[in-house]
Amino acid sequence: MNLQTKASFKKELLAFFRTKAFIIILLVFIGFSIFDPLLIRGLGLLMDAMSETYDEMGMDVSQISEMMGSAASMGVQQFLGDIMGIGLIVGLLLMNRFAGGEQKKRSIIIPRSSGLGNFSYITPKFFIYPLAVLILMVIATLSASVVSALAFAVNDLVIFNVVIAGLLMGVNFMMYVCFHLALGTAMGKPGLSAAICIGASMIVPLIFSILSTGIENEMLAYNPFSLGAMSLVAIYEPAPLTETIITVAMTLGIMVIVYLLALFAQNAKKIDNSGNEILI
């Protein structure tokens, strides 16, 4: 690895840790991992406490309260569901600084005019931030499982399933982070890039889900946008290993393509004004 790339890795690590992006993402993830299981458990207990009142009103809520209050897997699933929605939005917005924020604030001008190359600029971003999100997601999922195991009456969690669920959700996040980094650095508009990625995270899985209904299509089944849903199910029973591996491999493949596109976009933007032009 050349000096420029090494220095760029160091720069991104300093940016991640010193700008408190790391701490905020960690707090958000850990916050959800603690809050969500306790919320579900609390709601279940509340419904139990009020079951007599509901009976008098002629409503049978015993099944609902049973679902909410019974097993630890519910707590982890609630966490994964929330992190897939709100957590992704928060995570992508916190990444704005790294996904085109330098172009927007013009802090990239001096390094670029000093000679910072496209490879050295882009590559560390595509290593550090997706990897950080993956690691934090696994940690947060394990945290949710610990909280759920303590809070719920029945601990039906299998540690292997928890880790798989965390990894799948982490890879899902990695993909969106890569999209955000690529779009943001290409456009120099991190806010717009985040909005597009957040929109895509809501719409695209839905489209795939609709398309795959009732259709035997392996490509649709293994689509990377199903990772979130796979993660939610994995708490109870992970998908078959082949399916999991193929889906993750396709997702990683898409991330590599997105990285190469990001590099291509930077190369396409390269300017050399000193070529002589014949004046008419």
Binding site: L3, K11, A15, R18, I109, I110, S113, S114, N276, L279
Partner: protein
């Protein structure tokens, strides 16, 4: 070193550069002047390959040269301290020598050896500017471009930055100084270019430019006491076309057309000596750079 011919650039429908020419030699300290929004920063950004040009030629005499660029209001990485930032810039430059030593050196040049230990987000504007200059100098560039290096600085900050630029100029660096602070240019530059309406209205050695706009020789004399005899004696000297005299501005003598500077000066001095008049002050009155700049940019002055 740098030849620009017919440079053109537009932003949507607004044409900023309409055929700018510019010439810079090695060792020049070039004051690039113009009002706000005239295209100075656009020109510098084109030279540094930050934005594309629409037309024209930017030529470095066929050589590949290193440029050190200080943009206007440089944005640095606030989460780093000065040392870390410059070490990073050193890596970007692919500096072949000892990066740590070079970082210490450029910080020494810019007077930021102690200040650079703090995180950049806590810097004043002057400190920011100095680290920016250090970054521009880092790779030992052939050409240093400083875009508004003293804007938004307090007088102390300006003086510090100008002192750095003066030392660089004295050391033989080739510098383009984009500014609208004329006193800064007069202090350090040997060459000046004034942009107006997207083209270079005036360019050349500062003294040449001043003398081109001067309408003949003018000498101003200050006396301790303005007696009628003294005023008459001074104003009736040979080669004097006309004169003004008052106790505030002194006595201003306008030479006849065609009289050289040296001839006029000698005549005035001889006249003072013959009449036994000892002046308090005597100087050639020239149009200041500020007067030339204002005249050129508002169209009241031209070389045609």
């Amino acid at each position: 070193m740098l030849r620009i011919k017919g440079l053109r650039k537009s932003y949507k429908r607004f044409s900023v550069l309409k055929g700018l020419d510019m010439n810079l030699e090695k060792g020049d300290v070039y004051g690039f002047l113009g009002p706000n929004g005239c295209g100075k920063t656009t020109t510098m950004n084109i030279i540094c390959n930050i934005i594309t040009k629409d037309g024209g030629e930017v030529n470095f005499d066929g050589k590949k040269i290193k440029i050190g660029y200080l943009p206007e209001s440089p944005a640095l990485y606030g989460y780093m301290n000065g040392y870390e930032y410059l070490d990073f810039i050193g890596a970007c430059c692919e500096y072949r020598g000892d990066i740590k030593a070079r970082t210490a050196e450029v910080l020494e040049i810019t007077g930021m050896t102690e200040g650079a230990k703090r995180l950049i987000k806590g810097y004043s504007r002057g400190m920011n500017q100095r680290v920016g200059i250090a970054a521009a100098l880092y790779g030992e560039p052939d050409l240093i471009i400083l875009d508004e290096p003293t804007s938004a600085l307090d007088p102390e900050g300006r003086a510090e930055v100008m002192e750095i630029i003066r030392k660089l100029a004295a050391g033989g660096s080739t510098i383009v100084l984009c500014t609208h602070i004329l006193s800064d240019v007069e202090r350090v530059a040997n060459k000046v270019g004034i942009i107006r309406n997207g083209v270079m209205a005036v360019e050349g050695d500062i003294w040449d430019v001043k003398s081109k706009f001067d309408k003949g020789n003018v000498i101003n004399i200050k006396l301790r006491e303005y007696t009628p005899q003294a005023i008459t004696a001074i104003c009736s000297a040979d080669l004097v076309e006309r004169s003004n005299a008052n106790s505030v501005d002194g006595i201003t003598l306008f030479a006849k057309d065609g009289v050289s500077e040296k001839e006029f000066y000698n005549k005035v001095i001889m006249n003072l000596a013959e009449n036994n008049i000892l002046p308090e002050g005597l100087e050639f009155r020239r149009l200041s750079l500020e007067q030339i700049y204002i005249g050129v940019t508002n169209g009241s002055l031209s070389l045609n």
